[in-house]
Symmetry: C2
């Protein structure tokens, strides 16, 4: 009986796609589209860089001339999944100005051009969708856009980089070496072409930059966000984590402080076993959203890989049939949020050489441990200091946040006293040289 119901505004827009890129994501999309005929979307032409490469698709699909796609009137959707951010921006801009909708997965390009891309969307009225660029298969942008569109978003904590999470899992659970773990991630298609982007946190901070616009209406740039990757994390740190029943994850977070301003950063963190993020292993991503009244919500799914990423691109393509656009409600319809660096973080810091650690920069040091192989401390630093310096991520120094690391304000008198007591204690723990 249900078959006979006709919807009043039934329409199936025919989508004709010009695809840029035929790598991990591009070829994945090609395969996925072949298996979803009901979508009525077809790839008319594919632009790639290297005409010599062998492709698993008919040769006549391919070109190296981008104008053959951008100037083709019959193509109404450009899907951009290349690994060159500058070329990607040119393609996206030209396509939007040419009256085409665009779907993209390039978080780097979006992060570098967010303001212009917002203006282009307003100017042209075209849709620019990029769900795959955030947590691949998890519809996090869509949910932030559509669901948390009031002023009750307390915080978001997320694992947004599948490669580093894969590497951390393999290193700590299977005791793989860092190199072997990275190699596996690359072979499985999770890693960016340039592994530095993943490992040093650039990919995560780019994604975080873009998500801040949808979460809080904050339009900023990655250089303004405190971040690092997992390049300094040591086997020693994993051992300490284990002793304390923690796991280490690279966590992107944003939190509305009591001042109303937003703290946002991407740093390695000790995660408690009871924390939803400890559930997130291998190349999976996870997002914990804490909102007024609704308590914690947790979204989990594959954060990288050919098909999971392609399936997010597919969902964006599918949404274009109904002329879906991001509304950036928190930016345009509310008072946009504002970033702040005026707060403190409680950190674990491991190091070889105590001279490298500027102890006077700590507001408070509450633990000292000197082991034979390595030393560590637990203390509190002002965020501005972390932004202004890099000693904490160089020279073999490794910083990992404690759980609930954000401290909005300090009772300094109390802490100074505590610190002094600890300064006495340290002598008994192998810090005689300090």
């Amino acid at each position: 009986m249900s078959q006979h119901i006709e919807h009043p505004d039934y329409h199936h827009k025919q989508l004709t796609i010009g695809l840029f890129g035929f790598g991990v994501v591009g070829e994945g999309l090609y395969q996925v589209l072949k298996q979803t005929p009901s979508l009525k979307a077809s790839i008319k032409r594919v632009c790639i860089k290297n005409p010599e490469k062998k492709r698993n698709a008919p040769a006549e699909l391919f070109t190296t001339d981008r104008d053959e796609l951008l100037n083709d009137e019959a193509i109404n959707v450009i899907v951009e999944v290349i690994d060159d951010a500058d070329a990607a921006f040119y393609i996206v801009k030209t396509a939007l100005l040419g009256g085409k909708h665009v779907v993209s997965a390039s978080k780097k390009m979006i992060a570098e051009h967010l303001t212009e891309l917002l203006q282009l969307q307003q100017q042209t009225g075209q849709s620019f969708l990029y769900e795959a660029s955030a947590c691949a298969s998890i519809p996090v942008i869509r949910n932030l856009e559509e669901y948390y569109d009031n002023d009750l978003l307390h915080s978001i904590q997320a694992i947004v980089n599948g490669s580093t999470n894969y590497i951390l899992t393999k290193m700590f659970e299977e005791k793989l070496s860092y190199r072997d773990a990275l190699l596996q991630a690359q072979q499985l298609g999770f890693a960016e072409s340039n592994p530095k982007l993943d490992v040093e946190g650039y990919d995560a901070v780019n994604k975080w930059n873009n998500l801040l616009a949808h979460a809080y209406g904050i339009v900023t740039s990655p250089e303004k966000i405190l971040f690092t990757g997992i390049q300094s994390v040591q086997a020693f740190d994993a051992q300490v984590a284990e002793e304390r029943h923690y796991v280490i994850r690279l966590v992107a977070q944003a939190k509305k402080l009591e001042s109303g301003k937003v703290a946002a950063f991407v740093l390695p963190q000790f995660v408690q076993a009871s924390d939803h993020l400890s559930f997130v292993r291998n190349e999976y991503n996870g997002v914990v959203i804490e909102s007024g009244f609704a308590d914690k919500q947790f979204f989990y799914g594959k954060g990288a890989g050919s098909f999971p990423t392609a399936s997010a691109v597919l969902s964006d393509i599918s949404a274009l049939r109904y002329d879906y656009r991001y509304e950036y409600k928190k930016l345009y319809h509310h008072t946009p949020g504002e970033l702040t660096n005026d707060y403190y973080l409680k950190v674990y810091l491991s190091f070889e050489n105590v001279e490298e650690v500027p102890k006077d920069k700590f507001e408070w040091i509450e633990e000292w441990h000197a082991r034979e192989d390595r030393k560590y401390l637990v203390g509190v630093l002002h965020v501005q200091h972390l932004i202004d310096s890099d000693w904490w991520k160089t020279n073999g120094t490794s910083l990992v946040l404690l759980p609930n690391a954000i401290i909005e304000s300090l009772d300094l008198q109390k802490l100074k006293k505590k610190s002094l007591e600890l300064a006495g204690l340290q002598l008994h723990h192998g810090f005689k040289q300090w």
Copy 2:
């Protein structure tokens, strides 16, 4: 700088709400709205049943005359959160026909009138939103509508009833008695006014009925879906679960079979520790969506309670500012799915009295256990038999599905042989009387 961007189609529709019900959810919404002034939504009038009850809100807000809300031209949104399904349907129908948008949390009313409600939406063009009626704070309807709108949805498994999950958690983790656990759930505001609705699975199957429309475009009715609750689950079953490293959950599921048709039911199930649903404790709900290419996705959040439910109502209200409607894409824009009962389930069955168990109805019995206090078996039953009979949930018999319980087709020759071998074995295991 972002503050200066003006969105081209900026609009803030003023919402004037007529609220029906001021119980757990209604009063929650009243509180939540007071704390979200940016929404520009205000409650003009509240209709309740009992004029004598003390209310935490100005007396002049309240009335017992529904027409004062339904006939008020200034009210453009009706929020219906009462616990009387018949009255609720009248209210929703009258409001839609009267040109008002409606937000509701009444899964029972929606399940009972789904076809009419679909027709009313088409006829009137008004929005009818009911996210809170599914998994309270988890935006599952919205995600099924917006994100999985292609034909790649393999399966959904979900914990959709917060009360039963709370009771199961308290009984099995804290060894509370069933009565005490239920009492706690009621005091905390999770339980339906009539506990039978929760405990016997009616609430879960109502929700499942409604979600099937958004997931697969299936419009059916709860009587056609195989279901039970947790009323028969025994401490003994929990003990067996523990021995096998399982937990017991009331799981609602739907799966596309190889035939293309959909199996759907709500039954208690043994859940493995590695399963996402084992993560879901207390009054939380969880949804695992398995789709082609994207692998498994997991959504988790509070599934009941005053504020979590009110916050889902709030999100629906907020969506009305942008004239959001469900499109029921899988029903109207695709070939809708079709339910089937032609498959088998692998079940655990515990019982006191072996005579109550019609062993000839089993396709296959693979384990027998007779303990001093109680007996159990593991075997395979055809679903149609479970639908047509009720011995498996009466007379102290308790049925719990095994993990991956669905069996699409059986190699009967092989199984018969196995069954006969087991029939021999059973004599050694205390089933001499059979």
